[in-house]
């Protein structure tokens, strides 16, 4: 019990935020891709967070986070009229991905702030526990 569970809670948060950063990185990398011959352009991905209550039933103070799935943004991609492009479809349009770079940057900043906050929580808990272990000495 007590403060050792903080490592578990903050650890789950740190792991969830880094998966979120992975999704942001994938989106940014594929921001300028175009639809292939099958007509499907890259769709921006978001992770879905959910709280995880601790296994011991009635304890509501032990709430971690987990990623339960990845959601694809269903907005249609940007279409640009460019008949000379080698991947243009029959009407001369090229479909790009639906990634919004500005939104992804904001997401990245928010995810990295949360990551840092949770790391700090873990560090503080660790130093408090170490001090507690030295109680009564010296």
């Amino acid at each position: 019990m007590s403060m050792f569970n903080i490592f578990h809670i903050s650890g789950s948060a740190v792991s969830a935020q880094s998966q979120r950063l992975n999704a942001v990185a994938s989106n940014m990398a594929n921001a300028d891709t175009v639809a292939g011959p099958d007509g499907q352009a890259y769709k921006a991905r978001q992770v879905v967070f959910q709280s995880v209550l601790a296994q011991n039933g009635m304890d509501q103070t032990d709430v971690g986070v987990q990623v339960v799935g990845v959601q694809e943004n269903q907005t249609p991609g940007r279409r640009v009229h460019d008949p000379s492009h080698q991947l243009a479809d029959a009407d001369g349009y090229v479909t790009y991905s639906n990634v919004n770079s500005v939104e992804e940057m904001v997401n990245m900043i928010s995810a990295s702030r949360s990551y840092q906050n949770n790391l700090e929580v873990m560090g503080t808990a660790k130093s408090l526990l170490l001090k507690t272990l030295q109680m009564g000495q010296g």
Binding site: M1, S2, M3, N5, I6, I9, S10, S12, A13, Q17, R20, F49, Q50, S51, M58, D59, Q60, T61, D62, V63, G64, V65, S110, A111, S114, N117, N118, V121, T124, A125, L128, K131, T132, M135, G136
Partner: protein
């Protein structure tokens, strides 16, 4: 007789355990800052400590730490609502966390002081 030795430390010991519980609660809030629909919770520390140390509640002395914490839970006040109905206010949580950390250390030092005093009293004096 041994009771008299540990009674002096009882108050600070209870405070320390409750501070650790509150630390866990605040860590959960910070961890779930981005989870949609999460309600942030805080503990009424004064109430929990009062219940833990009041001599009148000998009937409640069998209450586990978990139950005592549950009784003192309350929803945090939130300054602004957000679209995904997450009520965690990161600034308040971090301030509360820092505050709780300092008070935990304070309890630890008071406890150390009590232990040191008792050890000093138990040492035999040098002068015969």
């Amino acid at each position: 007789m041994l009771n008299r030795l540990s009674d002096a430390m009882n108050f600070q010991a209870q405070a320390l355990t409750l501070r650790a519980e509150r630390q866990r609660l605040l860590a959960s809030n910070i961890a779930n800052a981005d989870t949609p629909g999460y309600q942030s919770k805080d503990m009424d520390f004064a109430k929990a400590l009062r219940e833990a140390t009041s001599p009148a509640t000998t009937a409640n002395s069998n209450q586990t730490l978990t139950q005592r914490t549950q009784n003192a839970l309350q929803s945090s006040l939130s300054a602004m609502t957000s679209m995904d109905s997450n009520t965690v206010d990161m600034d308040r949580e971090r301030a509360s966390f820092a505050d709780n950390t300092v008070k935990y250390e304070a309890s630890l030092r008071f406890l150390n002081g009590s232990i040191r005093t008792m050890l000093d009293a138990m040492k035999s004096p040098n002068a015969a």
